[in-house]
């Protein structure tokens, strides 16, 4: 039984339809990557799953609860967390306050979760009282992920976690994601670094023009000639 | 009844007076439509341009007071010029004020223009209220000349003036309609829909906004001039924000912001509603509350605007779609 099930999602901005019926599922503890060219609707899919956009068609269920059209602040209560691609931290708040906001709904578990987050991202502990605006890009990405982990989610949605990061940080971020996943937290990530993403994920979806194009085990996708040529920038 | 009796009957006189003022408000509404309807600029200082137009026209067309009158009327100057010169001067001075207010604000967020226009309108009113030497302070100016006054017997003069006002309104409306349908007007609409996209197409957004601000202000100035010649007397209290600014916004939104025919209709319809509420408050508000009676009408007007914004933001006629908007809503 899958944890997240999105079926035939139709969504977009105003009159512009971006997704024309996309389906995907994520199992418990699984790591799934969504790849595809720019403008194929990857971010739109994430926003729609998380209730920031209301789909005009299709259904999203999480742990068999229908969360289609639910506002974001209710979706987080279900055990789903989301790290957007850009603007994913509160820049004018301190690191510690960012984590507190992540645990806004559960102040009772804040202390425990914050310790866990600092354990996962030791760099942040030293800078807990610094404003996020004074942090480096890589550190900000850690804050963003730490904030999303505060409510003990069962599934973490990551929208391009390595976008805009220097190459040295990209491997580190993937290692952190793998570490999070190893704690039993399922991960659904959208990535530009398609090859790296598939190498870390168990399964992958290739979107193109707002539709599912390829679906399968990561290894199968990496081995697929057409996927490699069109979306991975080279031969398998 | 003879023609003469009909023309001079009270009801008809009332109707003519009603149409004159409604037409003048239609001019203000047309000016505001250039600002907000076409370009998306928030001008909360219509009263300021109204006042500038009225005072400019009065000072340009009035002679300096002489004899007995000079003892209790002060004015900075009195040029004794013809009506048309006054109208043109009113438009020009309003336009200049618009340039001055536009330069510091039009590059910034839309709310800044709203605040600054309130400021200019209030400052203009304060200056006319306090500076006795300029235009007789709070007592205001009387005896503003009326164009073509000797053409017909005094009792029929209002018909002449109605004719003048309607001609001006028609000319302004046709010109504005042409401009807004021109490539220039399409740029304004594009700016209103999405400034960033308009700038990305290489348009100098600031210059276009400034031109729109000036054009609308000039139309308001003309309206102010026509008001002064109709009333014959003006004082700073005429240019209070509710009557000078807010009512014009209600007319604009009621008729359909962005639609030339709509906003003219809005001015006439709302002026009729407004006259109706006069009768209603006369009938229902006890005389003891007389000083508060106008505020019942204001409250009604404010409620109407909120209801329009919420339930019919496109107004009675809605907006004519003659350009494809850049961003679907």
């Amino acid at each position: 039984m899958s944890l997240l099930e999105a079926s035939e999602i139709v969504s977009g901005y105003g009159d512009i339809e971006i997704l024309h019926g996309v389906s995907l599922s994520v199992g418990r503890g699984e790591m799934v990557a969504v790849i595809g060219p720019n403008g194929c609707g990857k971010s739109t899919l994430m926003k729609t799953i998380f209730g920031l956009l209301t789909p005009t068609g299709g259904r999203v269920t999480f742990k068999d609860t229908d969360i289609t059209g639910m506002p974001p602040h209710e979706i987080v209560c279900q055990g789903l967390s989301y790290v957007p691609q850009a603007d994913n931290t509160f820049l004018s708040l301190t690191v510690q306050e960012n984590l507190a906001m992540g645990a806004f709904l559960r102040p009772d578990i804040y202390a425990v979760q914050a310790e866990m987050a600092y354990g996962l991202f030791p760099d942040l502990k030293a800078r807990r009282n610094a404003k996020v605006s004074s942090l480096s890009g890589g550190q900000r990405q850690m804050v963003a992920m730490a904030r999303a982990l505060m409510l003990e989610p069962q599934l973490l949605l990551l929208d391009e976690p390595t976008a805009g990061l220097a190459p040295v940080f990209v491997e580190a971020v993937f290692a952190q994601i793998a570490h999070v996943n190893s704690q039993g937290i399922a991960v659904l990530m959208v990535e530009q670094n398609a090859r790296l993403a598939l190498e870390h994920a168990q399964r992958g979806y290739v979107l193109a023009s707002g539709e599912n194009r390829f679906t399968g085990e990561s290894s199968a996708l990496l081995a697929n000639e057409e996927v490699a040529r069109l979306y991975l920038g080279g031969a398998a | 009844m003879t023609v003469e009796a009909i023309l001079s009957s009270g009801l008809l006189n009332y109707l003519v007076g009603f149409l004159i003022v409604a037409s003048i408000y239609a001019l203000f509404t047309l000016g505001l439509n250039v600002h907000f309807g076409d370009t998306g600029l928030i001008n909360f200082g219509v009263a300021g341009f109204f006042a500038i137009g009225a005072y400019t026209a009065a000072l340009v067309t009035k002679p300096l007071p002489t004899g007995e009158l000079a003892r209790y009327t002060q004015q900075a100057f009195g040029l004794d010029q013809p009506f048309l010169v006054g109208i043109i001067a009113a438009a020009l001075v309003s336009g200049i004020i618009a340039v001055l207010i536009g330069i510091p604000t039009l590059r910034l967020r839309e709310d800044y223009l709203a605040i600054a226009t309130i400021g200019i309108a209030e400052s203009i009113r304060l200056v006319f209220n306090n500076e006795q030497w300029l235009a007789n302070g709070s007592k205001g100016l009387v005896g503003i000349p009326r164009p073509l006054y000797d053409l017909v017997p005094t009792a029929y003069y209002n018909y002449v003036y109605l004719g003048i006002v309607i001609i001006v309104l028609a000319v302004v409306a046709v010109l504005l309609e042409r401009m807004i349908r021109s490539p220039w007007g399409r740029v304004l609409r594009a700016i209103r829909e999405d400034e960033v996209v308009a700038a990305a197409y290489g348009k100098n957004v600031f210059a276009f906004k400034l031109q729109a601000l000036v054009l609308g202000a000039m139309v308001m100035g003309i309206g102010g001039a026509l008001y002064a010649h109709n009333a014959g007397t003006i004082s700073p209290s005429v240019f209070e924000p509710v009557f000078g600014t807010f009512i014009v916004w209600v007319m604009l939104i009621l008729g359909g912001s962005g639609n030339t025919k709509g906003v003219i209709l809005g001015a006439f319809v709302f002026w009729a509603i407004w006259a109706g509420t006069q009768f209603a408050t006369d009938a229902f508000v006890p005389p003891a509350l007389n000083s508060r009676a106008p505020h019942f009408r204001f409250l009604l007007m404010e409620t109407l605007l909120v209801l329009m914004l919420l339930f019919r933001p496109k107004g009675i006629l809605g907006e004519e779609r003659f350009v494809s908007t850049l961003r679907p809503r």
Partner: protein, 305 residues
Amino acid sequence: MIALVVDGIILGSILSLGAVSLTLVYGIVRFANFAHGDLMAVGAYVAFFLVNTVFATLDIPIATFGPLSFGLPMLLALPLAMLMTAVVAVVVDRLVFRPMRARRYATVMFVIGSLAVAFAIRALVFIIWGPEFHFYTQALRPALKLPFDVRVKPDQIFILLACLAMVAGLYLFLQRSKIGQALRATADNPDLARISGINTEHMMIWTWAIGAALAATAGILLGIDSQIRPEMGWNLLLPLFAAAILGGIGNPYGALVGGMVIGIVQQVSTAFLLPTYKPAVAFVILILVLLIRPRGLFGSEQRGF
């Protein structure tokens, strides 16, 4: 001149409180609320109603506190008026602005709506209390003589302290309390706040309630300092916006300084200009700021407090 500066500091502290609350609301609802001055008037008039109508008929001891011109009734009226004004603001939000948010209206529509609300409040004040000036008390209290020939009324010292206490209280609330932090988070990044589980509609209610309560206090203090009148809200609009923009709009700590500057300049200007020109003086400062430093003295290049 020193006397004018002292008066300016008192007026400035009231404007600071008004501008801080204006900019707090702006930071979260993201539009310039033209009804803010009229919320101050609501507070002032509700307090007037409580002190001079309700409490006057009850047997509340009119015991005054030392040299202050007001007593227990006013101290009781203050929190009640804050509460009432907060209720008014929240109800207005529910009736006018929340439906607009739900329909994803452009900012301009909110701004126009707020102007309608401002005039509607003023019309109601006129209808209920009439066009006359009102004073909270007719009692005159001797001014304290300070060095340099400066005279300060005891009330004015109370006003200054009350304003400082309110702003300090707001600071602590925003920094320390959970709701305060969530308000800052919402001002900083509303989408991320929602993703984090913050119900931003609740934050709107908190914002309006706090903003209106502080505005009410400022209105009452202004009433204690001078008098209350239906147009007070409208006349305050330019100084309030000038103060908020001078401090960098959306930046409450900047608004504090902005309010002080505007208050002092307004008072000192009365040495050269008619006092009725005070709103115009605020307007001139506003234009100068927009020309020279449109982001304000302290800038607000990013969102959030």
